[in-house]
């Protein structure tokens, strides 16, 4: 399988560990269902990034599933967390949003769905650690502007729509500065009560 996905390696690393480019995310260890959903969304144009849309355009579902399973099962080491370049106040805001949310603005905590240590939940909610500041902020922006969408109901579109630019900056800075927990595995399916319905994580 590694040879078949060499086309992925130049941007995502041979084991899906990511590369030095800020915008090419780590794939390794994310829930297979999440990776599969992204591959299908890129192929069908629901998530827009032309180099990915182009590469996947003519690949059938079972192959995308095999690719997702491959990267989900890889466990390369994590990169060291980023050293934050923002103020302590911004980091505090990021930590609050991630762990407690902001009920006054209808923003649930990231931890509610992505797990108390942000390692994701099987089968399709991704972990949020091991990603770079710019990538996190670009994804939240993409949801706000509609270039990244997921199966309806698109919970992340709702959540991202409630975030301000400053919220995005704070979340990206805090999440990317977190070290990996000792157990990087996603929490089991259905183990977290989700605050809003998500098309890509059927209960």
């Amino acid at each position: 399988m590694a040879a078949r996905v060499l086309a992925c390696a130049s941007c995502h690393g041979d084991k899906g560990q990511g590369t030095n480019d800020d915008y090419f995310p780590r794939l390794a260890g994310k829930p297979a269902g999440y990776l599969y959903n992204q591959l299908v969304a890129f192929r069908d144009g629901r998530r827009k990034y032309p180099p990915m849309n182009y590469l996947l355009e003519f690949l059938p579902d079972p192959y995308l599933k095999a690719m997702a399973d491959y990267f989900a099962s890889e466990q390369p080491p994590f990169p060291p967390p980023a050293t934050p370049v923002v103020s302590g106040a911004i980091l505090t805001r990021g930590e609050m949003l991630a762990t407690k949310g902001d009920p006054a603005h209808d923003i649930p905590a990231c931890a509610n769905c992505h797990g108390p240590s942000f390692t994701g939940m099987e089968p399709a909610i991704p972990g949020l650690l091991g990603l770079r500041t710019n990538y996190i902020s670009a994804q939240l922006g993409a949801w706000r502007y509609g270039t990244r969408t997921a199966a309806a109901p698109d919970c992340m579109q709702v959540v991202a729509g409630h975030l301000t630019e400053d919220d995005v900056k704070a979340l990206a800075a805090w999440l990317s500065s977190r070290p990996m927990p000792s157990n990087p595995a996603p929490v089991p399916r259905g183990s977290l009560p989700m605050p809003l319905p998500c098309g890509s994580e059927p209960n």
Binding site: L6, A7, D44, Y54, L55, L56, L59
Partner: protein, 424 residues
């Protein structure tokens, strides 16, 4: 006079009629007419695959055959039509006669002229029986209520009467006429390639009027808006298949990979949506016809232009890049590991006078289509993010001029321009 398939179908209709006669004696045959209809629909589905109807009449992520697929052209954007049997927004009220008239003459039931993005200049060759089968299939798919989106054409192309001029220049109406001096395979292949396959839509130069001239048929050309070069099918210097085996051509068409090369770019779309579904017999027939299109034996290749200071510099820069980035799959000597890692030495697609495809493959990489015959293809990594314009030019120059390859050097400027090519 028709294809073996057509004759086979005539036979099955004859058998069906016989069964209907037998109904007088044995009520057990009562299902025959329904079975007949089912077999015509099944044949229509197969023919619709041969015509690749789905690729244009289904929008990405949209409902099957409901249209709305955007087709950018130099004249503006066309949106394909809903061809499901919905009576109000699709073709549910059409008759088989009207469908045949549309396929054969490019006129819709209200007499309006179709834009030639619909390949009626090819479909005119389709037989009445095949047109009827396709119509029967189209009427059997789920109806979708979806209004056609108006075309977005620039002045003066938004004036449909201009199509009259286009038709005068580029359209010859008429069903395929078999050549009695050729084999059944050749004739079946010609029927499919010239008709439903509508291969000339890309593999013939499109001129400034958006037409492809019959005298230049299959001579290749740059596909407008897509920035891929559709190689000549008649010149062995490009994709002429004169020295390919029938098996290699058949593998290429149906699985997307072969011992001589893999499909990429728009051809991957054709294999994925259409050619992978063709039968053994039809694939071989197309291969026989396509091989025969190549004129004579491989012509002598022209001597390359004398290496200038730039191209020799590119060559010396290119080899280390090749050895580091490419050789692990394509081999130090460019022999590849066919069919999954195509050979580069002697690969026509790399040496064509247009270097567009070779540069784009290095920039963008690509997967051949996942097909029944090759469900998990190996992919070429993109190098746009890893190599500079100079490095891209150097490695493509090296590949085009090494191991006996006789292509010309490419410049960093060419590489840079193609970074902006539309990907998808």
């Amino acid at each position: 006079m028709f294809s073996p398939h057509f004759l086979k179908n005539v036979r099955s209709i004859a058998i069906g009629s016989f069964a209907a006669v037998a109904l007088w004696v044995s009520p057990a045959s009562a299902q025959s007419p329904a079975t007949d209809k089912a077999s015509i629909i099944a044949r229509g589905e197969y023919l619709a695959q041969a015509g690749d109807c789905v690729a244009c009449h289904t929008a990405p992520g949209g409902k099957l055959f409901a249209g709305g697929h955007a087709m950018p052209t130099p004249f503006g954007t066309l949106y394909t039509s809903n061809v499901t049997p919905d009576p109000d927004t699709g073709i549910g009220k059409w008759t088989a006669d009207q469908f045949y008239t549309m396929m054969h003459t490019g006129r819709s039931p209200d007499g309006g002229l179709l834009y030639p993005a619909m390949p009626f200049a090819s479909y005119t060759k389709v037989t009445r029986a095949d047109s009827d089968a396709i119509f029967a299939f189209m009427q059997s798919v789920p109806a979708v209520k979806q209004q056609n989106r108006p075309h977005d054409l620039k002045f003066p192309y938004n004036n449909r009467s201009l199509i009259i001029g286009w038709r005068t220049l580029f359209f010859t109406e008429g069903e395929f006429k078999p050549d009695p001096t050729k084999s059944d395979d050749w004739n079946r292949g010609a029927y499919l390639v010239q008709g439903l396959g509508h291969c000339t839509m890309c593999h013939t130069t499109i001129n400034a009027l958006g037409g492809s001239s019959e005298s230049a048929a299959f001579e290749g050309g740059l596909i407008p808006m897509q920035n891929w070069y559709a190689p000549s099918l008649t010149s062995n210097k490009e994709a002429g298949l004169g020295d390919w085996s029938i098996k290699d051509i058949s593998d290429y068409l149906r699985t997307g990979v072969s011992n001589r090369g893999a499909v990429y770019g728009p051809m991957a779309d054709v294999v994925y949506n259409s050619l992978q579904y063709m039968s053994d017999d039809d694939t071989r027939a197309m291969a026989v016809y396509l091989k025969g299109l190549a004129q004579g034996s491989s012509p002598d290749k022209p001597a390359p232009p004398l290496p200038s200071a730039e191209s020799s510099l590119l060559l010396s820069l290119g080899k280390p890049i090749y050895d580091k980035q490419c050789a692990s799959c394509h081999g130090v000597e460019g022999l590849g590991k066919p069919p999954h890692y195509p050979p580069l030495a002697g690969n026509q697609s790399i040496q064509m006078s247009s270097a567009v495809n070779a540069i784009r493959m290095v920039l963008n990489g690509g997967y051949p289509p996942g097909t029944a015959g090759n469900p998990m293809p190996y992919g070429m990594p993109p190098f746009a993010q890893a190599l500079s314009d100079d490095e891209i030019a150097a490695v493509v120059t090296y590949i085009r001029t090494s191991w006996g390859n006789r292509g010309a050097a490419v410049s960093a400027r060419q590489a840079n321009e193609l970074r902006a090519a539309t990907l998808n």
